[in-house]
Symmetry: C2
Subunit: 268 residues, 2 copies
């Protein structure tokens, strides 16, 4: 019972119809709180506001200002609720500042058809024990990125050269992923998973954090329990911005989430 | 002067601060008005509401109901305007019905840096004269898709098998694209271009229109005048939905827009 992650994304409906949350200091990275974790908090409030439609199918978040650990509220405005899906707007605020404004469509992934005609190929990864664990990160990195303590990540050895000053330059990162608290993945946690790895720009020789402007995630199926495979790639760095595509595959080899974000190139 | 497209996306600010538009019957396809055209109308209203930030950088649209030709209004709510970019919400309505709800970040693409480190490869296309023009579409197709009369499209011969009952099954479509009225591309028209080609599901042997649930476009640079190359691809059809990725390349070989939409599989 009682996984850490569930308590960290917990929301409570208040009398004014908003949802109160407590943003955890355990998700700090660099100067703010991890955007994927914030999206999971927003996603949890949306789930509460949309009875019978428990799963995010598509969610688009625009990041307006950096969040800090502590109290936050999520307001939800249902824009259309009919048939099998519902669309709502949601804002995550701290005091007078909006941190994230989002739109999302929810439904019941368990009620979708079983047909799968995926041409995408599951990323090839050595077994987790032959990959590079995040626990090998140097103490100075872990000090500014406490969120890494939430994860059991095993990086593909071919995509970890940046950690020793030898980025591949390909713009690709991949890793096995699970939460250290043992919580199994679900559609809400996938909203965090798509923004959990270091920025793909690490592999381009650009260390430093890359602020997200916009992130859209599509959750395509409920993930099976177990390890996830997460792959990030970028193909177009231009004008100080880059897109980061993310795929998440579950332990049965199913593509369960796809996301793309537009982020600012690290200044570092 | 006076290109047809500009008059079709024209908006007029009314006393209540909304923007009035007249959705053109020339953009009908199947049972509704083309979603890319609607996005350009929304994008035009956002441009008007955000002085000094003329260009869409990221826009996410959720399609709530099918639009019909005739009057519409766009309301814009500026959520944050500071520094070099601004983020706003916009709704396109007809009567009491919301057709599209959107979020967008605008800025000035002309002021971004010149650095380009794109690893994406420009799609190889035979010259336009060796491609298959949309004017070869059968009259019954053009009758239900008047929007095709707005376009000069030249399909890659390898991606047009569906037109003669021989879809490749790869889930890829590409074409040269320009507007027949001679209007040159700009960041607003790119919002239309990313949803102008037939659904990529045609190439999977699934004719019929594919309703968009959500579409996010990133405009990465102002396009040069001339032909655009547009490429659609899908990699994951599952549970009755598919993602459609679109790239738009300008006549100088620059990747000027990337988009992804989540759409329902055609029932046909």
């Amino acid at each position: 019972m009682g996984h850490e992650f569930d308590s960290q994304i917990a929301i409570e409906r208040s009398a004014d119809g908003r949802y109160a949350a407590e943003l955890s200091a355990g998700w700090v990275v660099g100067g703010g709180v991890n955007g994927g974790y914030l999206l999971a908090v927003v996603g949890n409030a949306l789930r509460a506001a949309l009875p019978g439609k428990p799963d995010p199918i598509a969610i688009s978040a625009y990041y307006l200002s950096a969040a800090t650990p502590g109290p936050a509220t999520v307001s939800v405005d249902v824009r259309r609720d009919g048939g099998s899906i519902a669309t709502a707007a949601a804002d995550l605020r701290q005091g007078d500042d909006t941190r994230i404004t989002a739109l999302a469509t929810y439904g019941d992934l368990g009620r979708l058809g079983d047909d799968v005609r995926t041409t995408a190929e599951e990323p090839a990864m050595p077994p987790p024990d032959e990959c590079v664990p995040n626990t090998m990160a140097p103490p100075e990195v872990r000090a500014i990125a406490p969120l890494m303590d939430r994860f059991d990540m095993r990086f593909h050895p071919d995509h970890i050269g940046w950690a020793v000053g030898q980025p591949s330059g390909n713009g690709v990162l991949s890793a096995w992923f699970r939460l250290v608290d043992g919580r199994e993945p679900d559609p809400i946690s996938l909203l965090m998973v798509v923004d959990a790895l270091p920025p793909v720009t690490f592999d381009l020789g650009m260390p430093g954090w890359a602020p997200t402007l916009e992130l859209t995630a599509h959750v395509r199926a409920r993930p099976a329990p177990g390890w996830l495979k997460v792959r990030h790639a970028t193909r177009n760095m231009a004008g100080g911005m880059f897109e980061e595509d993310c795929e998440v595959w579950d332990s049965t080899g199913r593509l369960v989430a796809q996301s793309r974000q537009l982020a600012r190139q690290p200044r570092g």
